[in-house]
């Protein structure tokens, strides 16, 4: 373990230290502010160190974990998202009683799982990262123990995630059986050169595909998303929607780059069918929904469908399109769920659309930002969502993937139906109070608002800047991404 290895592993080390610090803090004196403060400190410290680490990149630490600019960029993304989730959680749990500090432990560990996943180049690190990300998540989903629905969501998530990781494992086993090695690049080489026995190899890839599909909530595997998003408390939902999906997309992107941007056309056809299906299912189901969190869950399914379009269209713009669209999607989801967390209080969260009516006049900032995020979800210009969608169009048109592009256009049109709740309910209604929870929107946690404004600021500015991280090998350290935002 020479000095370069230690520097490379610094983020993981720092997060472990932070976890231990939070554990000790809890054991000495239970204080919610301290726990949240320490977690936030841990995240920011790691975040700020990334540029320093990038000098030593790319540096493989043991054959299973690689720290390169690509991995650092996505780690930065995940850390930023986790930081925002911490702020949301602080604002969310401030008004609640009961054991709140453990949430931050789970958050730290789950984030660490994400970092491992992002840097993994080996099946083992893939598995470890995935499990480290998921297991704390089960408890985070079921964290508000009193709410029956939260427990139900946690159980569903646990069982289904368990099944999907079992599929993952069995797939890996078959790959290992077929190729004899567990390293991504070697497996891909053997797969391409065709000397590995094909059936277990393809079966293994298929089963890993199932696990990936589950994590990204692609159509046949998406059934868990709405219930988990609805049941889990708002900060956890934002974490699930952003960090876990972001990490898995990072893995997919790495595989895509290692495979040199070439995907066998049988996989392209099946995944484009899945992508189109997820677009349509996500948009159609979000149409008449009355529960805000379920609306956002379904629209996140359709957004992942759009993301897949970028992958499948391929070509020079694919990586850039995926990176930008993912970032825009993460920011928007953080924003929307942030607003929900911000508006929720002791009695519960403002779930039904009616709770938001007249919000504009009670809490204009929150309503303004919420409309902004919904506009970005729908991909209206002046928002980062539009630039993301524009990139998808560019990638698609560049490789004349007409079917995908066609369905993308149709779904954007259906996606516009999402707007009525945005306008009808909280901007267009008259001033009368909403009957379900009158205090909704009155209380505004300072840190949560700070972060919401940050997302808003970033969103609007997202428009003109386009990250030049088109090529992971090129130096796209975190600050270059920030520089360009």
């Amino acid at each position: 373990m020479n000095s370069a290895d230690i520097i490379a592993l610094l983020p993981l080390i720092l997060l472990t230290l932070a976890t231990i610090a939070v554990m000790l803090a809890i054991s000495f004196k239970r204080s919610h502010g301290l726990a949240a403060g320490l977690t936030a400190l841990g995240f920011t410290a790691t975040f700020l160190l990334l540029p320093a680490i990038s000098r030593v990149a790319p540096h493989p630490v043991t054959p299973i974990y690689l720290v390169d600019t690509f991995g650092l960029f996505f780690s930065g993304l995940l850390l930023a998202a986790s930081l925002v989730v911490t702020l949301l959680a602080y604002g969310y749990y401030e008004t609640r009683s009961g054991f709140r500090e453990e949430f931050y432990l789970l958050l730290l560990m789950s984030a660490m799982g994400g970092l491992v996943l992002v840097g993994s180049t080996h099946l083992v690190s893939l598995f470890i990262g995935l499990e480290l990300l998921s297991v704390p998540l089960y408890t985070m989903v079921g964290f508000s123990r009193t709410a029956r629905r939260s427990l139900e969501a946690a159980l569903k998530y646990l069982v289904l995630a368990g099944v999907s990781s079992a599929f993952l494992l069995f797939g890996m086993a078959l790959l290992f059986a077929a190729t004899g090695s567990m390293d991504f690049s070697r497996i891909l080489e053997m797969g391409r050169s065709g000397d590995a026995s094909s059936t277990p190899l393809m079966a293994g890839l298929a089963l890993i595909g199932v696990a990936v599909g589950f994590k990204l909530a692609i159509v046949p595997f998406h059934l868990w998303t709405p219930d988990v998003y609805e049941g889990a408390p708002a900060p956890t939902t934002s974490f699930v929607a952003t960090v876990s999906k972001g990490a898995m997309t990072a893995v997919l992107l790495r595989l895509y780059l290692l495979a040199g941007g070439v995907i066998p056309d049988s996989t392209v056809t099946i995944f484009s069918i899945l992508a189109i299906l997820s677009m349509f299912t996500g948009n159609l189901l979000a149409l008449m929904q009355n529960n805000v969190k379920r609306v956002l869950a379904y629209s996140s399914i359709s957004h992942l469908g759009y993301l897949l379009v970028a992958f499948l269209a391929g070509g020079e713009y694919a990586v850039e399109a995926v990176t930008f669209y993912l970032t825009a999607y993460m920011v928007t989801s953080l924003g929307t769920f942030g607003i929900i967390a911000l508006l929720s209080d002791r009695e519960g969260e403002p779930e039904l659309l009616q709770d938001y009516s007249g919000l504009f006049w009670r809490n204009p900032v929150a309503a303004g930002l919420f409309s902004l995020f919904l506009l970005s979800l729908a991909g209206i210009p002046m928002t980062a969502g539009f630039i993301g969608k524009f990139y998808l169009f560019a990638a698609g048109v560049d490789h004349s993937a007409w079917l995908l592009i066609g369905s993308l256009v149709i779904n954007s049109a259906i996606g516009l139906f999402l707007l009525p709740p945005d306008c009808r309910f909280h901007v267009c209604r008259s001033r009368r109070k909403s009957h379900t929870n009158p205090s909704a929107g009155k209380r505004s946690g300072k840190p949560a608002r700070a972060d919401a404004r940050f997302c808003g600021y970033f969103l609007v500015w997202g428009l003109p800047r386009v990250p030049d991280s088109s090529d992971p090998q090129r130096d796209n350290r975190l600050n270059s991404a920030y520089h360009s935002f």
């Binding site: 298929a206 159609l284 189901l285």
Partner: protein, 633 residues
């Protein structure tokens, strides 16, 4: 003095503006002064200009005054320019002079009406638009006047807008004339694209060069122009609006629907005579339309009970004569009949107006009667007008103008015996219905009592018009009477060689015989009217009581049922279709699309049933699909 030509239409326009902006704040007398005064001044100015034009005619008998270039697009460069030549001088002087008399008359007639200033504003606007139509140098400016006149007729017919019937009549007038105007507009497009200009003179010049007579282009252009003329002058296909236009006040009917506007079609054909000369078949069609219309209107007028509707149908019939004249190439005869007709028809309307005014808006001639003694002046002037209309030989101007038309219908190479026969029959029916009206309304025992006698301001115009009606005929005597052809000489400066070339082959004797027959026919008509309607009206009742008789009477009363024909063919189906499609089928198409997506939502919602095992089954299904695809492809 000629350079003041632009002032002729502008004066009434100024009158209109003043009345529009300050009308409701002025006293009635002031409104009257401005209203009648502006038209009067314009008439005076026209007289002066006319005198100077006749005394020292400008080069090639035309004076064009260009105000400014309207617009310039590609080669097409229309100008706002007024052109004075013999034809437009006659038209302008008739419009302004008769218009002035009618304005004077309406000061008295409309005195108790609440929106007195609005009436005069609209009348002034009408006179201005008519002058623009008449003096306009190019067809586009003519079209401005043409549509402006249509608008004013709409406003004035619907003057008493509280009454729904008036509004429908006004609407009908505007829409029917607009049908004709659209045909004319298409004609303009053809002319612009083919000849590149709408300036009347070089239009005719270019047409003469580029199109040989009878060519498809010439026929199409003239047919389309004829459509416009037919619409505005209430000729055969589009004549249904004129009888209903009587819903307006009587001075309006006198000015617009007798003297000036309805003859705009005649003016248009006369103005573009070279084009019509290029298309002899269309010219013959004009004659045929004229003949048919005069017969049809003549028959209808026989059975009308409303005095104004009789006069309306008689106007249609007399314009039919003008069309007949133009159709056979007798341009100056047509215009001469226009002038005399303007005088005596205006006279008849104003006299009828005086009667209606006196009997407090009673228009049914069977409810009048015995008015000769109670309104002597009105009776005598009405009698003179009726005489001219029935063209009593030698003494009335109507005889000279109608006789000229009959003569040319017979003799000119475009004419034929049948046209002459139709004209003669028309003349016979005209004299019958005219004197039927006179005997029933003015003679016989009095039925209604007189409220208030028409004041001098109403009687003076009647007398002046009576004088004009009687003596205007003598400026154009037939050849075998005397060598006095002042009017046709004047007109020849405009119509040049296209004039009637009848002198060579027919002798004066033949002309004499025809004149004799025309005179006798009108006298017989008067006698017949006397026996049928004054001596013993019972015979007429007997005929009309028979089923065939009453059906015929009803049929003719409704103007040969053209209204019902057009309603069933065009109006009702269109309205029904519009009402059915009020909800806009295309809109329901999009709503259908929206509900389709919502149906998709509910169908998919069924899959999310919340059970963990169902979700795991989803996962398993996905695994099976992926395995299948990966392994077997």
């Amino acid at each position: 003095m000629l350079s003041l030509l632009w002032l002729v239409p502008t004066l009434p326009f100024l009158g209109f503006l003043i009345l529009l902006l300050f009308g409701d704040r002025m006293t009635k007398t002031l409104v009257g002064i401005i209203g009648a005064g502006s038209v009067g001044l314009s008439a005076l100015l026209t007289m002066v200009i006319g005198y100077q034009f006749l005394a020292s005619p400008p080069p090639d008998h035309a004076f064009t005054q260009v105000l400014w270039t309207w617009f310039e697009v590609g080669g097409f460069r229309p100008e706002i320019a007024f052109r004075l030549d013999a034809l437009s001088l006659v038209m302008a002087s008739v419009v302004t002079f008769v218009g002035f008399l009618i304005h004077l008359y309406s000061i008295g007639y409309m005195h108790e009406d609440s929106s007195f200033s609005r009436f005069f504003a609209e009348m002034n606007l009408f006179v201005c638009m008519m002058l623009v139509l008449v003096l306009g140098d190019n067809l586009l400016l003519l079209y401005v006047g043409w549509e402006g006149v249509g608008l004013c007729s709409y406003l004035l017919i619907g003057f008493w807008y509280q009454e729904p019937a008036n509004c429908t009549a006004a609407q009908k007038a505007f829409i029917v004339t607009r049908v004709g105007d659209t045909a004319m507009a298409i004609g303009f497009f053809l002319l612009v694209t083919q000849l590149g200009t709408l300036q009347v003179q070089d239009l005719m010049h270019k047409a003469g060069e580029m199109w040989e007579p009878g060519s498809g282009m010439a026929v199409a252009a003239t047919l389309l122009l004829l459509g416009g003329a037919v619409g505005k002058s209430g000729q055969l296909p589009l004549q249904t609006w004129l009888p209903d236009a009587m819903a307006g006040p009587t001075p309006v009917s006198a000015l617009i629907h007798a003297a000036t506007m309805v003859t705009a079609g005649v003016y248009l054909i006369a103005r573009t005579h070279a084009l019509f000369a290029l298309a002899p078949s269309v010219q013959f069609l004009v004659a045929v339309i004229g003949a048919l219309t005069l017969l049809l209107a003549g028959f209808s007028a026989l059975v009308q009970t409303d005095i104004k509707r009789i006069l309306a149908y008689s106007t249609i019939s007399q314009i039919g004569y003008m069309f007949l004249a133009l159709g056979v190439g007798a341009w100056s005869a047509g215009m001469f009949h226009f002038m005399t007709h303007a005088f005596f028809k205006a006279l008849l309307f104003l006299a009828a107006g005086a009667v209606i005014h006196a009997l407090h808006h009673e228009q049914n001639i069977f409810k009048m009667g015995g008015l000769a003694k109670q309104l002597p002046v009105v009776f005598w002037t009405f009698l003179i007008g009726a005489g001219c209309l029935a063209s009593i030989p030698l003494i009335t101007s109507g005889f000279y103008s109608k006789d000229a038309i009959l003569w040319y219908a017979f003799s000119s190479e475009g004419g034929s015996i049948w046209l002459w026969m139709a004209g003669l029959a028309g003349a016979f029916f005209t004299s019958i219905y005219t004197f039927r009206m006179v005997f029933i309304a003015f003679l016989g025992e009095p039925k209604g009592h007189i409220h208030h006698r028409p004041g001098p301001v109403m009687l003076v115009p009647l007398v002046v018009l009576a004088f004009l009606a009687l003596f205007s005929g003598f400026i154009e005597l037939p050849h075998n009477f005397a060598p006095v052809q002042m009017f046709s000489n004047l007109m020849d400066t405009v119509f040049h060689s296209h004039g009637h070339s009848h002198e060579e082959h027919s002798s004066a004797a033949l002309e004499g015989i025809l004149q004799l027959t025309a005179g006798i026919v009108s006298l017989i008509g008067v006698a017949a009217a006397y026996f049928l309607f004054l001596k013993d009206p019972s015979k007429v009742e007997k005929i009309s009581s028979t089923p065939a008789g009453s059906f015929l009477q009803g049929f003719l009363l409704r103007g040969w049922d053209f209204d019902r024909l057009y309603d069933t063919l065009f109006v009702n189906p269109l309205m029904a279709l519009a009402r059915i499609n009020k909800g806009d089928i295309v809109d329901s198409l999009y709503n259908g699309l929206a509900s389709l997506t919502q149906m998709g939502h509910y169908r998919l919602k069924w899959i999310q049933n919340g059970a963990v095992r169902w979700y795991a089954a989803g996962l398993a299904l996905g695994a099976v699909i992926l395995l299948g695809v990966f392994i077997f492809t």
